[in-house]
Each structure stands twice: as C-alpha cells, then as structure tokens.
C-alpha cells in the first residue's frame, strides 16, 4: 500500500522520461512507447484511485528532501487520481482513433516529434492535476502551452500554422496574466505552496488587508486561465486550432488541454483563494455572465458554420460556457455539476471529432455539409458514433450530456437570484444545440446517390474499436451518474 504513494510522482516523471527517449527513436518506436506509457500511467492512476478511495483522505507527497514550505510538493486525493485516469483513457482513445490520420498527415521524419509533444502534454496534465505548488503549476502550464502549439502545427499547411500562431498569442497572454497573478499572490503572502498561501489569505481576509490587490489577483488568475480554456469572448483562437489540426490533436486539445486549465482553476479556487473568498469577490458574476453568453453565442456560431469540424469546435465554446456558468452559480452543487460536465464534455467532444473524421473520409475528405449527405451509410459505425455524440451534446437521457444538464438545473434551483436566467439560457442553449446537431445527423442519414465508396468496418478494426469504447464511455457516464457524482462530491470535500 505504501508504495502506491509514489505513483503520482512516478507517472509524471515517467512521461517526461518517455518524451526524452522518444526524441532518439523513429516514428514507429515512439508511437509504441507512447501508447505503452499512456497505459502504464493509467494503471498507476487506477492504483492511486484505489488507495485514495480506500483510505478516503488526500496525501501530501514531498518532492525531494525538504518538506513544506521549503520544497516542492504534490498532493493527491480521490478526485485528482480519477481525473488522471480519465485523462489517460481519453488520450489513449484519441490517439488510437486518429492513428491513420497521423500517419497520413504528418511527415514521417517528424512523427516522433508528435509523440514527444503527446508525452509532455500528458506529463504537464498530470502535474497540473497533482501539483500543490503555484510555481510548479506555472512551469507546467508553459509546457502544456508549447505542447499544444506543437500538436496544432504538426500537420504543416498554412491553416494550421496560422492557427498555431493565433493560439500561441492568446495563450501566452493568458499565461502572462496568470504569472502576474502568482507574483501578486507571492508578494501578499510570501509563499508559493498552495496550503500556506491559503492560510495567509485567510488571515489577510480576516484582517481586512490588501482587499484591492486580492481582488485584482483573483481577476488576473481567473481571466488568464479563462483565456487559455477559451471562455466565450476569448475564444477567437479556438475554431481554427480545433478545425484544421490533425484529428487526434483536435480531440486532445478540446477534451484535455482546456480541461487541464479548468481543473487547475477549480484547484486554485478551493485550495488557494478559498471558496468563500472567491464567492465574496464579484468575479463570479462576471464568470456567470460570460458563461451564459458563451452558451448562446457558441451555439449560434456553430449554426452558421458550414464545415463540420469547425461546427464541433464552436460547440466547444458553448460547452466551456456551461462549465464557467457552473462556477458562476457559486454553490457546491454547481461546482459538482461543472466537474461532471468536464468529464462528459471531454468524453463526448473527442468522440465527435474522431467520428466526424470517419464521416469526412468517406466523403472525399471534404468537410462541407453537402458532401456529407449519406455519409452515415458509407461508414456505419462512425455514423452511429456521431449520432450518439450529438444526442449526448443535446442532452438526451441515457447519454452523459443529459446528466450534466440535469445537475446544472438542480444546482440553479438552489440559488434564488440566478435561477431564472440559468434555466432560460439552459433551455435556449439546448434548443440551439439540437438545431445544429440534429441538422448534421439528418444530413448524414439522408440517402444519396453513390458518389463515394463506402467503408466496411473490417477494414479499420482499430478505429471501430475506438468508437465503440467511446460510446461505452459515454453511456457509462450517463447511466452510472450516481456513483460518479458521489465520487466528485467526496473529492471536492477533500480539496478544501
């Protein structure tokens, strides 16, 4: 049992080691090694989840010979371990689903570089999930940003390079704001370790000192991370980055990179700023309004889009809006709903990206809707998977999207002054979601004359298995929501 406590640290270091070794390997070896790595990290995370679940407490792990507040630390409870496991599953499935595409779209000499980016992305996600130190968080935010840029621009054509440049500019702006926030926090408290900062902030708030700097700090950190995770007014980089990069990258960017930042923000809210201090600052109202605006504007933009990949990307803007709306409601129930939506959106969005690429492949590689007519008959499993994803996004029972919408609505009822706008916008957003997703589903199930050849599932076994796994994951999230929400509530209570 005791040895399991080393696993989170080991999984971070292992992914870094793998990245280093991958730089000396050819593409094929790097791919195998990275796949093994993601599996191993997943197994380590299962062990950690078992340990934290069995003992029901969170552990502090000293990185080095010096305990807090002098050295680095990581801290893991059941929520962190589960998150790490979930990220590994999504990463494994996204890589498997887009493997053919990676081979086709990437220069074979640079394939190992792709897997370096993937490994370091995994290490940074794990570090963001586990870290208990603000500066460590910043270092790994940097790695995450650069890795995401690499993932976008690896399929080298003009669109992706432009998208990567945009992403880099916006993302560095976010990192800069986050860094200024950390500096201000250090100046006020004199610590970089989350638990120590939390104590100092509690004292500062009780003494009534530094009210303005504290408010500005919270604003800077929240806005910085919101830019990086594409909250509505800062989403301009998103559609190009997700729409033109290779499909594994798009799936990982939408379901892992942005979610890593959001998880870090949740951590900061609970462990650094303190939930009550965060509530007292008026920032949550700003988040609430931006979240609501994002829910509607993202969907409206998605309706206008004539390109299936870009449509799915704009749908991400709407879903990120849901998550921030949950932060804005400011209750624990809403926080639970947000965390659940992180899971459900990550599972669904990567499914949509991977299945959409199957549909466009049987339509001559074109992403416009008129070409997609009848694509679901030509690639049956991709059609079914896309339909499942679309139904889940719209919020049909049995699938995961329904549960998160239900949780949001339940949370909204608990807060009286934000009840009405939340429910109205939820309803509008659901209708808008239905408009563009059902339009696509009807389009792909409209029979068409045999312009393109169909694909049998035997030809692409790995792709089919991946999609089936995604569908199962979605249904499991939708059907077993009770134990999962229980786990989230328990994990969040360990956070404070």
């Amino acid at each position: 049992m005791d040895i399991i406590r080393n696993f989170p640290c080991l999984s971070i270091l292992l992914s870094m080691f793998t990245a280093i070794i991958c730089s000396a390997l050819k593409g094929k070896g790097a791919r195998r090694l990275s796949t093994i790595l993601v599996m191993v990290v997943g197994i380590l995370s299962i062990c950690t989840l078992y340990l934290t679940g069995a003992t029901g407490q969170s552990y502090v792990y000293v990185m080095g010979h010096f305990p807090a507040p002098f050295g680095n630390e990581i801290r893991f409870g059941t929520l962190e371990a589960g998150m790490a496991l979930f990220f590994c599953i999504i990463m494994l499935l996204s890589l498997a689903g887009g493997r053919k595409k990676i081979k086709m779209e990437i220069d074979p000499h640079k394939e190992n570089l792709y897997y370096i980016m993937v490994d370091l992305l995994l290490s940074s996600l794990l570090a963001l999930v586990y870290t208990n130190d603000l500066f460590t968080a910043y270092v790994f935010v940097e790695i995450n940003t650069i890795a995401a840029c690499g993932l976008i621009m690896i399929s080298e054509h003009g669109r992706t390079i432009e998208a990567a440049t945009r992403y880099m500019i916006m993302s560095l702006l976010g990192s800069g704001l986050f860094l200024i926030g950390i500096c201000l926090l250090y100046d006020m408290t004199g610590h970089l370790l989350m638990s120590n900062i939390h104590e100092s902030i509690q004292m500062i708030v009780n003494d009534g000192m530094y009210t303005i700097p504290l408010l500005v700090t919270i604003a800077l950190i929240v806005v910085g991370l919101a830019i990086k995770s594409a909250l509505f007014p800062f989403h301009s980089w998103l559609p190009d980055a997700y729409g033109y990069s290779t499909v594994s990258s798009a799936a990982m960017l939408s379901s892992l990179v942005s979610k890593g930042y959001i998880f870090l923000l949740i951590k900061l809210i609970y462990r650094v700023i303190g939930f009550d201090t965060f509530l007292d600052s008026k920032i949550i109202n700003v988040l609430y309004i931006f979240g609501l605006a994002g829910m509607i504007m993202g969907s409206v933009n998605a309706i206008k889009e004539n390109d299936i990949r870009r449509m799915i990307s704009f749908s991400s803007v709407a879903q990120i809006g849901y998550i921030y709306m949950g932060f804005g409601l400011g209750t624990t129930a809403a926080m639970v709903a947000s965390v659940f939506h992180i899971l459900s959106h990550a599972a669904t969005k990567s499914l949509l990206f991977v299945s959409a690429v199957g549909l466009t492949d049987v339509s001559g590689g074109k992403k416009r809707f008129e070409e997609l007519t009848g694509a679901a008959y030509r690639n049956k499993i991709a059609g079914v998977a896309f339909t499942v994803g679309a139904l889940s996004m719209v919020g049909i029972p049995v699938f995961s999207g329904f549960v998160s919408k239900l949780l949001f609505a339940q949370a909204a009822i608990q807060s009286h002054d934000k009840l009405l706008p939340t429910l109205i916008v939820l309803a509008i957003s659901t209708v808008l979601n239905a408009i563009y997703f059902m339009k696509t589903v009807i389009r792909i199930y409209t029979p068409s004359h045999g312009k393109y050849d169909s694909v049998a599932m035997k030809e692409k076994p790995l792709y089919a298995i991946t999609l089936v796994c995604f569908i199962v994951l979605n249904v499991v999230l939708g059907m077993c929501s009770e134990p999962i929400t229980g786990w989230i509530i328990k994990g969040l209570s360990l956070f404070a």
Partner: protein, 320 residues
C-alpha cells in the same frame, strides 16, 4: 362492350405509345431529337485568374477606408478602444502595486521563515556555497526539471516548424539553400580563433563552479552555446559538422536529460520515503561538493548549450 382492335390499328393509338414509353421499350426522344452528352465544364486558367482579380478588387474596394465610411469609423474606434483598454489595465495594475508592501520593508510578508531558512540552512542542506543554485536545484528541484523540459520541448517545436527534410533536398535541389552561405569573413575568423576557446573555457568554468560562485548550468550553457554560434558564424557549417552534427546533438541531449532525470527521480524517491540520499554533500567550498548540484549543473549546461546552438542552426538553415 369494348371491341378488340387490330394490332396494326392499336399501334397507332396514344395509349400504345404511352405504355411502351412507360415500359422503357422505346425512348420517344431517340430519333426525334438530336442528343449529345453534356460537355464537362472545364474552367480555364484565365477565368480563374480573372475571378481572383475580381475578388481582390472587390475586397480592396470593400476595405478601402476612403470610400467605406463604416470601416474607417470602425478602424478609428478600434485604435481608440485598444489604447484606452491598455491604459486602463496599466492604471489598474499600478494601483494594485501601490497597495502592495514596499520593497525593502523588513516586515513584508515575503521575508518570512522560508527565505530565512534558505539563507541560514541552505549551505548545510544542499552543500552549495551559492545559495541560489542550491535553492533552485535542491529545494525546488521539480520546478527546475520542468523548466529544463520547457527548453527541450521548445527545441522540438522549432524542429517541427523549421526542420528541412534531407530526402526533400535530395529530390528537389532548388529547395536547398545551404550552399549559399556568406563568404567567411577574415576579421571574424581571426577574432573567433582567439575568442572561441576563451568563451568555451569560461562557460565550462561557470558550469563547474555553479555551486561555488554566481552562475550555474543555465548561464554557463548559454555561454558555451554562444561560443558555438560564434564558431559557426566564422567558419561555416562544414567545419562545425566535423565535431557537432545531428547525431552528436542527439546523443548529448538525450544523455544529459536522462541522467538529469535519473538523479532527480532518485532524489525525489529517497526524500519522499524518508531514505538517506547516498550522494555526499562534500566539504563546502571544494570543487567536488554540493551533492546533486554539481552533476545537475553539468547536465543542464550541456542541454542548454545544445538548445542554443540548435535554435541558431535551425533558424539559419533548417537543420543541425
């Protein structure tokens, strides 16, 4: 009662022709109409160009500020708003800083037990006379390992962007501009002959004395990298490739990072599980002292030197 018509009579009726057409036996247009397959629509090169020109002209007219009042208004408004926004953010940040504790105030929150301990116990804990190096490589070893990985991933990203494929060069001679190097400058060569060894030596000195005097792996490595860049600028890639090519670069980079990683992992695992770290701290002030600081400095130094040179080479000719 209907009467039975003769076959020849029936063939003249409308019904006969209609049912024949319906059954697909006869196409009424065949023979009665001149039919040709539709010509495939081929867009001529000239029309494409013309259309592009039209589009460009239209775009130019739409975005021509002198005619489009709305656009001009928007552009002016955009400029004003961005300036106002920047000034507002600056004002907010300056206001915030004015509320923060003053620099140099002995009672400010940052001068707490952490900094005191770093100063008082730093030498004993890490064995490094240079407290800063000791702090970043021992107390905060995880952050520094992450930071080294930032350098590593940055080089990989630049490689994705700029690395030119060897096969492509062989196939397409035009894409190879590696031959067009500037003629070597005599003055630069003479100066470099003197300067490069000194720069290398100084860099190595800084790396090896990182735990004793100001400096360390990052600064020393940057210096060695600068020395190599100077050498390349003076003597060209042909001479440099004799001792530093892609293969050497890979070997050095991977070995340095792996060794660094192993040391750090050992350090973390022993520390977290309450075991003794077997790397001796040594006598402070001696060159062989400082525990893990000295080897890490060496590895970080070689990684940073490689990174610096790789950036230069990639930007200059798209390969190492």
């Amino acid at each position: 009662m209907s009467k039975i018509r003769k076959q020849s009579e029936y063939e003249k009726t409308f019904a006969y022709r209609f049912f024949r057409w319906l059954g697909g036996e006869k196409d009424i247009f065949v023979g009665n109409m001149e039919m040709q397959p539709q010509k495939e629509y081929v867009e001529e090169e000239a029309t494409i160009e013309e259309r592009m020109k039209d589009r460009q002209q239209a775009m130019a007219e739409v975005y021509d500020g002198s005619h489009n009042m709305e656009l001009r208004f928007f552009k002016i408004l955009y400029k004003i708003f961005s300036v106002v926004f920047c000034i507002a953010i600056m004002a907010v940040l300056i206001l915030t800083v004015s509320y923060l504790p003053e620099v140099g105030d002995p009672n400010r929150p940052t001068s707490n037990i952490v900094t005191e301990t770093y100063i008082s116990d730093g030498l004993g804990d890490t064995g490094a006379v240079n407290i800063v190096t000791g702090m970043i490589l021992s107390y905060r070893a995880f952050d520094t390992f992450g930071e080294t990985n930032v350098l590593f991933i940055a080089t990989c990203c630049v490689m994705i962007m700029l690395m030119v494929d060897e096969d492509k060069i062989k196939k397409n001679k035009d894409s190879n501009d590696r031959g067009f190097e500037p003629k070597n400058d005599v003055i630069l060569q003479v100066i470099a002959k003197f300067l490069v060894p000194i720069v290398f030596l100084f860099g190595i000195y800084i790396i090896l004395n990182g735990h004793l005097s100001p400096g360390g792996g990052f600064s020393g490595g940057a210096m060695i990298g600068a020395g190599m860049i100077l050498y390349v600028a003076a003597f060209g890639f042909d001479k440099t490739e004799k001792f530093f090519n892609e293969h050497v670069y890979k070997v050095i980079k991977v070995t340095a990072l792996l060794c660094y990683g192993c040391i750090v992992t050992y350090y973390f695992l022993t520390g977290a599980n309450g075991l003794e770290c077997l790397i001796l701290l040594g006598e402070p002030g001696k060159i062989l002292s400082g525990g893990i600081t000295l080897p890490i400095n060496i590895f970080v130094g070689s990684e940073v030197a490689c990174t610096m040179y790789a950036f230069y080479a990639l930007f200059r000719r798209g390969g190492l």
